[in-house]
Symmetry: C2
Amino acid sequence: MIKVAVIGFGVVGSGVVDMIHDNKNVLNENTGERIEIKKILDIREFPDDRHGFLVTHNADEIFNDPEIKIVVETMGGTKYAYDYSVRALKAGKHLVTSNKEMVASHGPELLKLAKENKVRYMFEASVGGGIPIIGPLSLYLAGNNINEIYGILNGTTNYILTQMKETKISFDEALKEAQEKGYAEANPDADVKGFDAVRKIAILASIAYNKFVDYNDLECEGITQIEAEDIRLAEELGYSIKLVGHTRKDGDKIIAGVRPMLVPKENILSNVNDVFNAIMVKGDFIGQTMFYGKGAGKNATASAIIGDIVDIIRNPGVMQEKVWDIKAAGLGDQEQENASFFIRYLSDNGENCAIITEVRKESEIRKIYCEKYDVKNIFKVLSF
Amino acid sequence: MIKVAVIGFGVVGSGVVDMIHDNKNVLNENTGERIEIKKILDIREFPDDRHGFLVTHNADEIFNDPEIKIVVETMGGTKYAYDYSVRALKAGKHLVTSNKEMVASHGPELLKLAKENKVRYMFEASVGGGIPIIGPLSLYLAGNNINEIYGILNGTTNYILTQMKETKISFDEALKEAQEKGYAEANPDADVKGFDAVRKIAILASIAYNKFVDYNDLECEGITQIEAEDIRLAEELGYSIKLVGHTRKDGDKIIAGVRPMLVPKENILSNVNDVFNAIMVKGDFIGQTMFYGKGAGKNATASAIIGDIVDIIRNPGVMQEKVWDIKAAGLGDQEQENASFFIRYLSDNGENCAIITEVRKESEIRKIYCEKYDVKNIFKVLSF
């Protein structure tokens, strides 16, 4: 019997509790263990929930209980969750989380703490929702030099871009629809400005290159400036516009960021639509491999957390092996990369036109084309 | 230092040796160990190969060497490889293979033998080439009830079907081209008749359902009967024709097989082209998730084998946990499933026509439409 505590009984936390309850048979068959939720920490009461009786407001009941071997942190944010994370690891409990903000901000410290306390800090659910990507990248691709990672890492923006393309509506209309469907928050900035995606690519880059990549240092451009005309003209030229998180190594420098890019129709990433996420990894031996699935949602995220719990149970002697070099990674300058660009401009008679440029540095392209045309938008073209 | 022996120095075996040699730094960084190839067993000599000096013709040098902890079997076939596999496991060595024929034929016995000898039998490379699928399915998705798996599991047939679609050539022309490019064997039966794919789906079904699914018992239809007209008409109706390995559970029965199916354009599987493979897994919590990459080739397959080796090194105390119930799984009858079908028939004036039928049992569809029309081909439509 493995006893687990959940901190934060919101959407994701209740998904984890549901999955452990509903799928106890398959979990038992696949781990050889019974998994039990012993306590749930939340400031609220849940009298109508079937697991409401497990709720406590006293964190000591979790951290001082030697029977609890695994703590799942699904509070989100860093304000309170940070202290709980540190306490869990110091108490010698494995820590599993979906909290990307925590991993992207405090990953190096928490990984080190896990190692010192001979437990593991696991965060499969922090990137790509249910998609197994952190485990496969850390383990199964660990023999490859990772050349590049390109990913559609935010479901909300991908839904908005898909709607703009398929129904020819504006960004504002698509955002409103996403909000009505519950895919976007009332304040959509974290998604549409790329803040969510940039944390995720920072986590992937840190794993791929074993150095802490601080998302605060990365280029981050969202989708608010994309107009229906950009999407239409890109499509005519054979491309989809996607918000792409990307990272690669340039010598000993790491290049990483988030920006809207044109993805050619023959690239499978261009067919990743709606709220789905996909992460394309290019390794020197494996070539291109892609991981696709639901990037968010209660059940998909719970599945990723449970995957980490299964990993802990199935590999019981294993401790945190890897930590991220706490000195921030040297970041390369994307500006030095050559690429081709999509340029939308207004013709002399006010018509929207677009071209795909030759391959040059972005600054050169901007200089050349902005002098010549009334440029409305410039996006990089993904070549992968 | 972890010492490894390779049995069979052909395409895949030499890829493994190359990867361990070329990527020693990243492997060291990610495992904390140095990996060394100690011996290579082959009946041939390789005087010109940089690792030729490691070749031995005496298997005892491997099995009697206590320093060798991991044996990689890349001979293929079952004739000699079976004895070597048994000897390796009985000698207490972990066994890693790309040999799908061996896994699909002798999996239950070898898994049991691994468990008895407290080592692991690993075969990530047996399905999907480099794509991490067996590890993720066994570990990260282990908390899900697996509802269905659909996969493009054979790169040769996918290349042929892609060429037929894109350049409107016949099956024979596309096969010839695939042979010229080295994607198809001189005797292409194993690929084009579905024999390769059916072994792979049998392995995936065995993992998903923890019971041995014998590929000999499965429905297996290849692509030799597909004509250019089928592909053209399917495309007009909004579908790609793909050779699909599929499995699902129907009560306590397992349904599995390989057949050409129509995949709707909006399904991401329809955009998996050329020699790429993709496996879509549907779980009760994770929803749809897909794993995509190169399904064959020296380096991609080596990457999967190295992934298994990394897993063994990183999780050193772990033994074979799971074995497949050696009683063959109860197989369900696909004939009882309702589906819609693509029917190509000749009209009265000899013209090729196609329709997508209503949803019914296959036998009923065949009866209804074959009476009414001059039917040329019938394919199931994938609904996923």
